[in-house]
């Protein structure tokens, strides 16, 4: 029997996904549990495994194609079995009747996927592929848009140049061979000296020879010059970067940010951590900060809210996002219901989530729904910084490194471990005074050793 393989819906918010890599080829035997392909959603990259034994008969959706969830992407069955015809891509959502199998919209019907595991950072092959996509993007001619004669096109290809700057003088502005020749002479093409291998490489990579400069000083374009041009060629951001770019731009341009900084004295807290460690209880400074924020947010529900500029929604529960940096981006796993969690609970959850984030095993649902975010750069030796509010939230706390600092304590100069924290808040909702009170509420708690002794 032929089984369709369907693009799974991996998160409640996921509407479409891209296959970044097929791990099996057509004709490969497939076992239950084998990883078939990797997909990239707007949150992460994950592996999708087969629910069937058999042979991969046909790949319907190639690599780098984005399709709606629940689309049939391949068929697994026995060799020789007839494969149902599938509507040409991309069509799955608009013409479901063409698909032999009725798409099953109901999420309770489990797609052939059991688990999702994979690096959240996009694997290199995906980038390599997208690069080739771009290389064809500024290609000389886009059918239908650029009107050009076949002879002119052949000449441009032969000379290794792009046609974007060529003025067409044929009927209706069509580019004819003479236009290309004029362009070549205007641009001084004949004076160009290119080594044979450099020309071959530039042609293979679809670079415009007229745009490559000789940097080695001998006035001749060599392979190194082409390599430099290749390295400089614009390429698309990977999906994670694009998501980060879109979200940060939206937040920073639509939310009026207001910043307020305090210094927390964490000397005693650090000593407490050391004492606890000696007793076999390890906590990170982050654990205390999460707890302190949860406590402060209970006191200031205005900060635990969302606004669209017209309405405000106070969240009754506190979900704290923790920004975790990865090699090639950033993810924000969420500690849910932080208001109900004890310090040991927070420690355990944070440890698990961070570990999952680093190994790329976070599920989309573990990365959504935060109501307040903490960005801790303490381990990166920074004096102070400001963070950009996560869209949908109204504040974010930027935590800097605790460092020995001379301060005045009880009228004396003392060296204390001081940690700067800067709150970015949505100034539409949160006035300066409230931001100041809120961030000081966090600070006061971090400095209150009696509180922590009580909580542990």
């Amino acid at each position: 029997m032929v089984h369709p393989i369907i693009m799974p819906k991996l998160g409640q918010m996921t509407e479409e996904s891209t296959i970044v890599r097929w791990l099996k080829r057509e004709g490969d035997p497939v076992g239950k549990g084998d990883i078939l392909f990797e997909i990239e959603t707007d949150k992460a990259v994950m592996e999708v495994e087969s629910f069937f034994d058999g042979t991969l008969l046909k790949i319907v959706v190639p690599e780098n194609q984005t399709v709606p969830v629940m689309t049939t992407v391949a068929f697994v069955g026995n060799p020789g079995e007839p494969i149902p015809t599938v509507a040409p891509l991309p069509s799955a959502p608009s013409r479901p009747s063409d698909t032999p199998l009725p798409p099953r919209p109901a999420p309770q019907v489990s797609p052939p996927v059991s688990r999702t595991v994979a690096p959240a950072a996009v694997p290199p092959p995906a980038v390599a592929k997208t690069e080739t996509q771009v290389s064809s993007a500024p290609a000389p001619a886009k059918p239908g848009r650029l009107r050009i004669s076949p002879r002119a096109r052949r000449l441009a290809v032969e000379k290794g140049i792009h046609l974007t700057g060529v003025q067409g003088t044929g009927p209706g502005g069509r580019i004819i061979e003479r236009d290309v020749r004029t362009y070549l002479s205007e641009r001084g093409y004949d004076r160009l000296r290119v080594t044979p291998a450099a020309r071959a490489l530039a042609t293979a990579e679809n670079l415009d020879l007229l745009e490559i400069r000789s940097l080695t000083g001998d006035d001749r374009i060599d392979v190194e010059d082409v390599r430099l041009a290749l390295a400089e060629r614009p390429r698309p951001l990977d999906r994670m970067r694009q998501v980060i770019a879109e979200r940060l731009t939206r937040s920073f341009t639509t939310t009026p940010h207001f910043f307020v900084t305090v210094s927390a004295d964490v000397t005693e807290l650090s000593e407490l951590r050391q004492r606890l460690k000696q007793h076999g209880q390890s906590y990170t400074l982050s654990d205390f900060i999460v707890k302190a924020c949860a406590l402060a947010l209970c006191e200031f529900p205005e900060v635990n809210s969302t606004t669209d500029g017209k309405n405000v929604q106070w969240h009754s529960r506190i979900h704290i996002g923790l920004a975790v940096s990865l090699d090639r981006g950033l993810v924000v796993p969420v500690i849910r219901d932080a208001q109900d969690l004890s310090l040991p609970d927070i420690h355990q959850m944070a440890t698990e989530l961070i570990e999952k984030a680093r190994s790329g095993r976070l599920t989309p649902d573990e990365m959504t729904g935060s109501t307040f975010t903490i960005s801790n750069m303490g381990m990166l030796d920074v004096e102070n910084f400001t963070a950009i509010i996560n869209p949908g939230e109204s504040a974010i706390l930027a935590v800097s490194s605790a460092r020995p600092t001379p301060v005045v304590k009880d009228g004396e100069i003392a060296v204390r471990a001081m940690m700067k924290m800067t709150l970015s808040s949505d100034h539409r909702l949160i006035d300066g005074a409230m931001a100041a009170r809120f961030v000081n509420a966090i600070k006061t708690r971090l400095e209150d050793i009696t509180l922590w002794n009580h909580l542990i």
Binding site: T195, P196, A200, V223
Partner: protein, 470 residues
């Protein structure tokens, strides 16, 4: 006190061309040399050894002329006359250098230079000493044979320079060190009929060569020249007395009339008093330079063996010329991407550019195109049908990245490869270049045909591969 725009220390293949170029650019130049004009290359290296090797090649071919249908019974030689010819060649070239220096107005100062400060040098010869002021300095002092402590000091234990001063050949010799110099000497000795043993501590001779080239060389040295090659072991208990040199290899005791040590060369900085110029050599005594040939002192340049680059005369010359131009106010970057290297063993070897071994080490994917001399008309006709040429090419563009040749006239043949590699030619360019027939150079074109998948004179790739390429 005499004052010069530039003082060049060392009149070898790095130093004297630097002096000439600087003089051509209008600088007042002094060239300091403590031994002979022309340095190691002209006096105790390239030139004298190649003179003797030429004689040994010819002698060996004459003795084996029966292969070409000739009878040459009773061929013999007088080593004294060979040495005299060698000295004649050296003398003639040395006189040429001297004339060139004179014609270009370079002041030659005989003696040992040492820094007093960055701009002041003393030149000492015997008891006399004079002080010279130098606005710029190029150090081109070269290298000397390494002579480790385990080697006894005895007339029967010589290095390459010591060997060239001999007036007669030993009847047997141990060559210690299977690098380029050791292999060249071993081949020469064996061709003269000296019973030769080559001992190398490393697993094989000339470790830098690609495996296929090295295998071919070793096979020829052992089978054709009858050299005993022992690798991967150390020569121990070396002792020399009036009658012979003996030593131990593992359990085996070996003896010979002479031991020739070819254990690499060390940079020659003795007596320079570099510290007075604020220069401190790196590990191994080498003086590091930047892409423009400058040392850490802006007014002091260094070139050649002294800098730890490949120990090749022609590389030193290229560096010397760049350093001279930069010392005269220009800003030229050294271009050393393609440095051909020739090994005058029997058979000869020529290499240039990227090797297969380097490609593997650097993770560069390459395509190999090889053509053997055994099926090349000219090679067969001239009775030298062993060895091969090999291209290392980029699989995508077909760019010729490097080449290796082993066989007849390989040291001459490599020149064509060097031009193609430097010019970034592709396999297709070469495959479409008409080569004269019958010549040895056709081998390059045939090997390029192998790369493009269209060989005329060797077995084609399987039909399937051809289809795939199409």
């Amino acid at each position: 006190m005499e004052s010069f725009d530039l003082v060049v220390v060392g009149a070898g293949p790095g130093g004297y061309p630097a002096a000439i170029r600087a003089a051509q650019l209008g600088a007042s130049v002094a060239l300091v040399e403590q031994e002979e004009l022309g340095g190691t290359c002209l006096n105790w290296g390239c030139i004298p050894t190649k003179t003797l090797i030429a004689s040994s090649n010819f002698y060996f071919e004459m003795k084996n002329a029966a292969e070409l249908g000739l009878r040459s019974d009773g061929v013999s030689f007088d080593y004294g006359e060979l040495v005299a010819r060698k000295d004649q060649v050296v003398k003639k070239l040395r006189a040429g250098v001297s004339q060139l220096l004179k014609a270009n107005g370079v002041a030659v100062l005989k003696g040992t230079a040492s820094f007093r400060s960055r701009q002041l040098l003393t030149v000492r010869e015997n008891a006399s000493e004079k002080l010279v002021e130098a606005r710029k300095v190029i150090l081109a002092t070269g290298s000397v044979s390494a002579r480790p402590d385990f080697l006894p000091v005895h007339p029967r234990v010589v290095d390459s320079k010591g060997f060239l001063n001999l007036t007669s050949l030993p009847s047997s010799a141990i060559v210690l060190g299977g690098g380029i110099i050791g292999c060249e000497f071993a081949c020469m000795l064996a061709q003269f009929g000296v019973q030769t043993t080559l001992v190398e501590l490393l697993p094989d001779i000339i470790a830098t060569l690609d495996d296929d080239v090295r295998r071919e060389l070793r096979r020829q040295m052992e089978k054709r020249l009858g050299i005993r090659i022992i690798t991967g072991v150390s020569l121990e208990d070396i002792r020399a007395d009036d009658s012979e040199v003996h030593a131990r290899i593992g359990e085996e005791a070996i003896r010979a009339d002479l031991l020739l040590a070819a254990l690499g060369r060390r940079p020659a900085t003795k007596g320079l008093a570099l510290e007075n110029a604020g220069l401190y050599p790196a590990d191994g005594g080498f003086l590091k330079v930047d892409d423009f040939g400058r040392t850490r002192a802006a007014s002091i340049f260094a070139v050649g063996d002294l800098t730890g680059s490949m120990q090749l005369a022609h590389l030193a010359t290229s560096q010397g010329i760049v350093a001279a131009e930069n010392a005269c106010g220009q800003h030229l970057r050294r271009n050393e991407k393609t440095v051909p290297a020739c090994i005058f063993t029997s058979p000869e070897i020529g290499v240039v550019g990227l090797s297969e071994k380097e490609a593997a080490q650097q993770g560069i994917e390459v395509r190999i195109g090889k053509f053997p001399f055994s099926v090349l008309g000219k090679a067969l006709a001239s009775g030298h049908a062993t060895g091969f040429v090999k291209w290392i090419a980029d699989p995508g563009t077909g760019q010729l990245l490097g080449a290796q040749a082993i066989g007849p006239h390989a040291t001459e043949l490599i020149a064509e490869a060097a031009v193609l590699v430097r010019g970034e030619a592709t396999a297709r360019d070469l495959a479409q270049t008409i080569h004269a027939h019958p010549t040895l150079s056709e081998a390059w074109m045939e090997a390029a045909h192998v790369l493009t998948g269209e060989p005329i004179h060797s077995a084609p790739p399987s039909r399937k591969t051809i289809r795939e390429r199409v």
